[in-house]
């Protein structure tokens, strides 16, 4: 009896194999080329997709985001081959729109109604072409160290801290108190650049309107708050993103860190692996999103490549398996509302945040309530100037707002050479 059962199972397996192999062999072999950064996310995603679709092979080339435009521009000018898929940082998406090298994803039948509308708008050209799908919304809050919060504010409870830090002025007031209590050794924030980055993304001042760059208004909004925090002794002078600056995550001298959801994995947990249980997150005074990368398909790719590339991009965002993979390998939560249910968004690392329900905070409270200013082709230049001026403000304690704004306008003037644009 057992022998017969074994034979039957073996026969069934063989039959399935015989039937399955020709079906897979019918799928055309496709190679998708890709230039881009963040190999911690893209490489595993491609591997997983290849596992499920063995006929699709990926050839990824690591290209830092700052080099992407240069590499593509040179390839375009020389008539060289472009990759099948191009990642587009949010700061540069308006520049990509100008190239006219990307497929309109609307033509692939994508249902944009299920996505975060602000991100769809950010990737849509004036004539309605959707040039990319963002892999994730990036809601951001303010992370804090519980031990330091308890020591200086008397509580590490997120709700109580939220009430204490509901306005920008609260940060200034409490920052001065912390500086005084610690004798100037403990700060609210580790880096002026990090603070400026947060304030920039949280600012509702549009960068560009009707042929003019609103540099004065934008910088007054961002740098004015930074200078107030600096003068209160609330901000240390580390440069953001440097190894030395990142080492402060595990230190005892800085309480708060502006924190988009991806920074939880990439910065907090990575730089402070022993800090489990000692972190919490509260909302910033204004809900905001920080970062995000859209993936588009080049028009020069073959039809087979385009079809496979679209299927891959769509799989990453709108397929249950792909979205789970993105969540599990990089902590990216899809912007597809049909998948991103509260259960799906439940992060596995809440224990790292003392059991706080950061998933609901980020994806149910913050993400739906953020506004993304319309991207402009000058965002990358403005970002670069913002970084420089923020560091100047931190290095020169006497630098006032007028000087900072003037320096920002002057520096931007050297980067923006388009005479049809005015900087005000």
């Amino acid at each position: 009896m057992r022998k017969n059962l074994f034979k039957m199972v073996a026969a069934a397996v063989l039959a399935v194999s015989v039937l399955a192999v020709p079906a897979m062999a019918d799928d055309p072999e496709v190679t998708i080329t890709y230039w881009g950064w963040d190999s911690n996310y893209t490489w595993p995603m491609m591997e997983k997709y290849h596992e499920l679709h063995p006929n699709v092979t990926f050839e990824p080339i690591a290209t830092e985001w700052g080099d992407m435009l240069t590499k593509v521009q040179q390839a375009l000018a020389s008539g060289s081959e472009l990759p099948t898929i191009i990642p587009m940082d949010r700061a540069l998406i308006a520049n990509w729109k100008q190239f006219d090298i990307l497929e309109d994803l609307n033509e692939y039948g994508v249902d944009t109604s299920v996505y975060n509308q602000a991100l769809i708008d950010a990737a849509t050209t004036d004539d309605g072409r959707l040039i990319g799908l963002f892999s994730a919304a990036c809601p951001a809050g303010i992370a804090y160290k519980r031990d330091l919060a308890k020591e200086y504010f008397g509580t590490d409870d997120p709700e109580e801290l939220q009430a204490m830090f509901s306005t920008y002025d609260d940060y200034v007031t409490h920052g001065a108190e912390v500086a005084e209590a610690s004798g100037g050794s403990v700060y609210l924030f580790h880096s002026g650049q990090a603070v400026a980055e947060w304030l920039y993304f949280a600012s509702d001042v549009p960068n560009y309107e009707d042929g003019k760059i609103n540099m004065t208004a934008k910088m007054e909004d961002v740098m004015g708050k930074l200078i107030a925090l600096r003068d209160a002794g609330a901000v240390d002078t580390y440069q953001n993103g440097t190894p030395e600056g990142n080492a402060t995550y595990a230190g005892k001298n800085h309480i708060f860190y502006p924190c988009p959801d991806w920074a939880i994995t990439y910065y907090i947990e990575a730089n402070d692996p022993d800090g489990s249980g000692n972190w919490g997150i509260i909302k910033a005074p204004v809900n905001y999103q920080h970062g995000g990368t859209a993936f588009g398909i080049t028009t020069s790719a073959t039809d087979e490549q385009k079809a496979a590339a679209y299927d891959y991009i769509h799989w990453c965002v709108s397929d249950q398996v792909g979205a789970e993979e993105a969540r599990d390998v990089a902590g990216f939560i899809t912007m597809d509302s049909t998948i991103a249910t509260p259960e799906f968004c439940k992060r596995s690392d809440e224990e790292f945040f003392g059991g706080e329900n950061i998933s609901d905070l980020l994806y149910q409270e913050i993400a739906p309530n953020t506004v993304i200013p319309a991207p402009s082709a000058y965002d990358n230049d403005i970002t670069s100037v913002r970084n420089d001026v923020a560091q100047q403000i931190m290095d020169d304690a006497s630098m006032d707002l007028d000087t900072a704004v003037a320096a920002a306008i002057d520096e931007l003037g050297q980067l923006v050479t388009d005479e049809s644009v005015t900087i005000e």
Partner: protein
């Protein structure tokens, strides 16, 4: 006098220490586990170097290293050969449009490489070699600076009477070039070889636009990708940087004397 010498020595030692500290710290920090780099004293090496190396070797490092080595050695060898031949020809032979040629060589030095890169990419694409290492080698071969340098060196170091004597003795042109002319400009050749190696080893722009396959990665591209691949693994990043710097340091250490002799040759009128 003694005080003056002592002051000079102290100053030189101080400058050397300031220059060497970043290199030392790079090596020392590469021996730490990432989380410990800024917690311990980075001046005293730790015991995590092998682990960091394992991380690096598990990536595309060896291939990138080999590619860079092939590119740099080929660029160095052929560039020196071509430039020295140009220098020899411009000094020893009389031919029409020699002055125009000389001016052309000078002009190529004044055009920034970035301007010519698109044309160069079109050329390589039409030759169907843009997905190989060759474009990253060829770009160093016709070096205006190298040719100009060799012309100057031959002018001051190779007496034409020597060439004439060799011809009378029955030597052919290749023999004269290899056995008589080249030894006369040895410091110049070594200097140019070193510079070509360093320039091609550190070149970022050409690999950036030409590398479209993982198997063609070079060290600068690999190093840049380290920051993304090992986002917070600074120990591994620094180990990669240390290994990337080693060939340059070795070559410079061995060739520093010749290089300085080559750079300063002709500076003092004899």
């Amino acid at each position: 006098m003694k005080i003056k010498t002592a002051c000079k020595t102290v100053f030189l030692v101080l400058m050397s220490v300031i220059s060497l500290i970043p290199f030392y710290l790079m090596f020392s920090m590469s021996t730490f586990k990432s989380e410990m780099i800024f917690q311990g004293n980075p001046l005293i090496p730790s015991n995590y170097f092998i682990e960091n190396l394992k991380t690096i070797f598990a990536s595309n490092f060896v291939r990138s290293y080999l590619n860079s080595f092939i590119i740099s050695v080929c660029a160095m060898f052929f560039s020196v050969l071509i430039c020295s031949m140009a220098g020899y020809a411009m000094n020893v032979y009389q031919f029409r449009l020699k002055k125009v040629m000389n001016m052309f060589i000078m002009m190529t030095m004044m055009v920034p490489t970035q301007i010519g890169i698109i044309g160069y990419m079109i050329e390589m694409r039409n030759l169907r070699i843009n997905n190989t290492l060759l474009p990253m080698i060829f770009v160093w071969l016709a070096s205006g600076l190298g040719a100009y340098w060799m012309i100057s060196f031959f002018k001051t170091s190779l007496p034409l009477e020597l060439v004439e004597s060799a011809r009378i003795d029955g030597a052919n042109e290749l023999q004269i070039y290899f056995q008589i002319a080249l030894p006369c400009i040895r410091p110049g050749i070594l200097t140019l070889a070193l510079l070509q190696f360093l320039w091609s080893w550190n070149s970022y722009m050409y690999p950036l636009v030409f590398v479209n396959k993982t198997e063609n990665y070079t060290i600068p591209i690999f190093v840049k990708s380290l920051a993304s691949a090992f986002r917070t693994d600074y120990g591994a990043q620094l180990a990669g940087l240390t290994l990337a710097t080693i060939p340059v340091l070795i070559i410079f250490s061995f060739g520093a004397k010749s290089m300085i002799r080559g750079l300063t040759a002709g500076a003092v009128k004899g």
